[in-house]
Amino acid sequence: MQTSLTVNGQTREVDHDARQTLLDTLRDGLGLTGTKKGCDHGQCGACTVLLNGERVNSCLCLTAMHDGDEVTTIEGIGTPETLNALQKAFVESDGYQCGYCTPGQIMSATALFEEVKKGAPSYVSADLEAPTFDDAEIAERMSGNLCRCSAYPMIREAIAMSREVK
């Protein structure tokens, strides 16, 4: 099958099997291996990318269903020479150990900032109509990203720190 995607601002035509997931298209088809495969079943968040600006698990997306859609991966938000503010905060806070979950954590937190800006509620918001932004909110809103090294406190710190500099 043929599908056209806009990946990190560039139009890419991909030729793929109907069964291919967006995760496999990115990694195997386009060589963008920053996005990781942890569980392949929606349980870990390592494969998180932005799809039309919203965070999703790319392992649970069929490429065939996303013709014309926009995808942003970790390769699209900064480079090793020019890290963005959130990437810098992860480095400064030691927001990782092995680093495997990190691209997913960073893409997820990128979307989290937008969600908070729009006033989206979470399960722990005291007032559904006026959510706040504190440590408990970060933990709840990031619960779709597991970290096998359990760097959670530093991940939350990096996210809080990066929000302050914004």
Partner: protein
Amino acid sequence: MRSFDFHQSGEIGDAAGALGREAAIIAGGTNLLDLMKIQVMTPERLVDITRLDGLSAIEADGENLRIGALVTNTHLAGDSRIRAGWPLLSRAILAGASAQIRNKATTGGNLLQRTRCPYFYDTSQACNKRAPGTGCAAQGGAGRMLALFGTSPDCLAAHPSDMATALTALQASVEIRAASGEIRTVPMHEFYRGPGDSPDIETVLAPDDIVTAVLLPAPRAGTKQTYRKVRDRASYAFALVSVAAIVKVEDGRIAEASLAYGSIAPHPWMNHAVEEMLVGQAPSDDLFARAGEALTAAPAPHPDTEYKRPLLRRTLIAALREATGLSESAHGVDTARIPA
């Protein structure tokens, strides 16, 4: 994953025509793709309905709301009208899965998600729901996620949806389009079928029916609403038990109560005897203890779910205490109002 014929529809009649016993609708794909990867579901054709018009909006119909089947869980939970008028629904949806999954998951797909019984997921095991007539490996096996009520000798599995539990307490209904084009509306409590001797058939849907919307009746302004979910970890886990409660206290007495229970039956569970015990009475620990006893009187069908009886009892009591103001810690208790 088995190979399949991929059919993307731009028109609902075309989608219905492509459906049938060997085909499956795909919406968000968050449940179906997971099950297809491990060959628990092996449709020969996938009918992608995500490009159909008219199924992605939340529309007012007087004081009622019509929620299109393709409205995502995130969109629904965050809608300002839902947060104001039906806060139970926002809380229940936000209690489920993760932000990533809720961004993709749809209203129709959430209702139709399959059970989390581990034997249903394991194709080397007997399971009447996955492979009719093979038996039920959960009986005699491990079963702490199974149901308490409404089971049959052929299947003890529970329905895991948080959203469907809230919709049941809110007395919503499901709008369905038949292949003929005829539209019918089925109340939540009649949408799911008990397992009986065919646990593979879970709802009243025919293979070529399409869920087009969920209809929410006018908000119960002034009611206190809460969704209390108990799980193995604080977030991103399925419920062991859950209670959706809508309660109104007037002049020191319970004037209204609508309750539904999740992850304890093959579908969201209701027990009207409990509401009848409550309405007209003053809130008290004694009253709530008796309500809990009445709810959990029946024995558990599997020894591993025996723990769910006291857990459900205590969860109901806690929800009622918070919703009636008997206890102080009222985190997650919202008051419904007519949306602006």
